[in-house]
Amino acid sequence: MIEVKNLVRTFNSGDRTIKPVNDVSFVLEQGTLASIVGKSGSGKSTLLSLLGALDKPTSGDVVVDGVSLASLPDSKLTEYRRRDIGFVFQQFNLIPNLSAVDNVMLPMEFAGVRKASRLERAKELLEQVQLDPSKHDRRINRLSGGEQQRVAIARALANEPKLILADEPTGNLDEQTGDHIIELLSSLSRDHNTTILVVTHDRVLANKTDRRFRLQQGKLTEEPARERAVAATA
């Protein structure tokens, strides 16, 4: 369970103080598929970085399974990111001189998984995200944007994290592949009890999530799930 308590993050820009995350509180049960929508610059990515322990809040706390992230030293936060978090960055942030399979193996290497096991799992994950096997050993900078996005998603799943934080995970994908990724995330949430929080502009994806939040001027509000309920009934 992830519990966000009065989270605030401020930045100073000249004389002004910007609050992209302003007193945000919510609770996500384990296995929830949630989405955050909002305009560009509304603080969605900042909120994700706070939940993923990439950044430290100005005030407030994130409590994961009863453990306060604010109380953890850097080494434990690194361990938390390695073991419990899977990131899908908006710009993928893959290592350009490594192959697709090497990129997916990286988090497993840091987690101490044996080489044979991580190679097998990396290929399995790349197949799950529908990357052509002929491109598994291709360097990242020789893959298209959509292919890179699929590698980024596979990398996020590598260590079977409790929480996946995905920033526009379907942004560069065609409709068919996007649908497949949405289905993959849904099945992870449903079958593997993985909590997934996606930041998206994609209404289709947002409507398929269990809970939908809107971030506006740093304030987070939860939207009713009427459309989702209708879709589920149908």
Binding site: L54, T78, R82, Q91, I95, L98, F110
Partner: protein, 482 residues
């Protein structure tokens, strides 16, 4: 992919830059290794010189300096006096002879008679620099080295061939140095390096055995058991020695009484080689020896030219060591700057690695290994450079730092009973400059390995700072760029 494999891959990410970095590193490392090789070679030579002649004093007749002088010959009684001086562990007397090939001498005499030229000193008793008559004897041996310009000039000046008129003078060969010795040492007090055969046994007794320099033996097609003559008396080659220089090997050693008999000066010595029991006592022993023998009778020297040589070599050693450290530091600085640049360039990537859970030590290790890959490549090329350049660099260092010393070693030492020899052959310590030149800086695997280990140590230090910088990069910087 392991950290090492990733580091190797990263080292070749930008091939042009890697080539440039490796080239610069190779030059710095090559220079460092060449300096180390030179340092080791010179150090070994200094040690060898100190070990062989560091405790040796030479006693010559007083007044026998340069091309002037006179005085009385040294005697066996003075040798006994010297042996009684405190801290003197051994005294070896020498008697120097000058040998000329009998046929060449006869031809010269005939030519001189035909042309009506000739100088005064070409028969016997040629004036040596010590002002005493040197015994010039005839031999069946032919000298192994030509006199050269200096030798011809000196022979003309001494009246050996005559010098007036415009008649072209024939090319002369140098006289052969023959030395009677009281122990199995050369004229510098250093043990003879007998490469074939045996020594002369009892050096205090007359003998028909002789030791020949290797080049002299080769020139005359002599081997162990062969015979030759001095003044029509037959001598048998019992051993061959290698003095390390061409001039030094154009020599014959016989026992001291044999030489004294040949020279017709029984009981007289050309010089004495006095060995002091330790380096610490050399100065005191020198003073005591000079007092015991009398400054009007004998000059006691400490092989000044060799001291100069050792001093020059010590300078070269110091310079090469400083240059080694400087080149090593340069290599370390290059690595440091390159790695700092790489860390700055890859901040985003480092942030990504941290975001996906890479510990600081893994990222730091990756950069250190990358630096070591560059250092290894630089070392490989640097070692190749050093193996080709070290001897040249060592020679350049020695020649630029020993010109003064070499000039002083060019003087002949004073002649004793037998006189000193000229024409290119220097006195007892005349080979000092050749000793300097005989420093061979060969790039031995051990020295190269030691140098490369030092390079790797410096590379690790150079890479540690940037590697530690990676720990300060926060993963949020990845997202801030988006």
């Amino acid at each position: 992919m392991s950290v090492l494999a990733r580091s190797v891959g990263n080292a070749f990410r930008n091939k042009v830059r890697t080539a440039a970095v490796v080239a610069v590193l190779a030059v710095a490392i090559g220079l460092a290794l060449a300096m180390l090789v030179a340092n080791q070679a010179v150090g070994a030579k200094v040690q060898e010189l100190n070990a062989s002649v560091g405790t040796v004093l030479t006693v010559n007749p007083a007044g026998g300096q340069g091309f002037e002088g006179g005085g009385e010959p040294l005697t066996a009684a003075q040798a006994a006096t010297a042996a009684a001086v405190p801290n003197v562990s051994a005294v070896v007397g020498t008697s120097s002879l000058r040998l000329r090939n009998a046929a060449a001498a006869a031809a010269q005499a005939a030519q001189t008679a035909q042309t009506g030229q000739g100088g005064p000193g070409n028969q016997t008793g040629q004036a040596g620099p010590g002002g005493q008559a040197a015994a010039t004897l005839t031999t069946s041996l032919t000298a192994a080295v030509d006199a050269g310009t200096l030798g011809n000039r000196n022979q003309q000046a001494n009246g050996t061939t005559g010098s007036t008129g415009t008649t072209r003078q024939p090319v002369r060969s140098l006289p052969i140095t023959a030395t009677g010795i009281g122990a199995e040492v050369d004229t510098t007090g250093k043990g003879l390096n007998i490469t074939q055969g045996t020594g002369l046994g009892d050096y205090s007794a007359a003998s028909t055995g002789a030791l020949l320099g290797t080049t002299l033996a080769e020139k005359n097609n002599l081997s162990i058991g062969s015979t030759f003559t001095i003044n029509d008396q037959t001598y048998t080659v019992t051993g061959l020695f290698d003095a390390g220089t061409a001039f030094g090997n154009n020599a014959v050693y016989i026992t001291l009484p044999t030489a004294q008999t040949l020279a017709g000066t029984p009981g007289e010595l050309s010089s004495m080689i006095v060995t002091v029991n330790s380096m610490d006592n050399v100065a005191a022993a020198k003073t005591a020896l000079q007092a015991a023998l009398g400054s009007d009778k004998a000059d006691v020297t400490q092989g000044q030219n060799l001291q100069t040589a050792v001093s020059s070599l010590d300078s070269v050693k110091n310079i090469s060591f400083i240059a080694f450290i400087a080149a090593l530091g340069t290599a370390g600085l290059i690595i440091l700057l390159i790695m700092v640049m790489l860390v700055r360039e890859r901040r985003r990537e480092i942030g990504v690695l941290k975001a996906i859970g890479a510990p600081n030590r893994t990222i730091g290790l990756q950069f250190v290994l990358e630096a070591l890959v560059l250092a290894a490549l630089g070392s490989a090329f640097g070692a190749a450079i050093a193996s080709f350049a070290s001897n040249g660099i060592a020679s350049a260092l020695i020649s630029s730092n020993t010109s003064t010393g070499a000039a002083t070693t060019g003087r002949g030492f004073p002649g004793g009973a037998g006189g000193a020899f000229q024409g290119g052959q220097r006195g007892p310590f005349g080979g000092a400059s050749q000793l300097l030149n005989s420093v061979t800086a060969s790039a031995s695997p051990g020295v190269i390995a030691g140098g490369i280990a030092a390079v790797f140590g410096v590379a690790i230090i150079g890479a540690l700072v940037p590697a530690l910088l990676t720990a300060r990069i926060r993963p949020i910087e990845v997202l801030r760029g988006e």
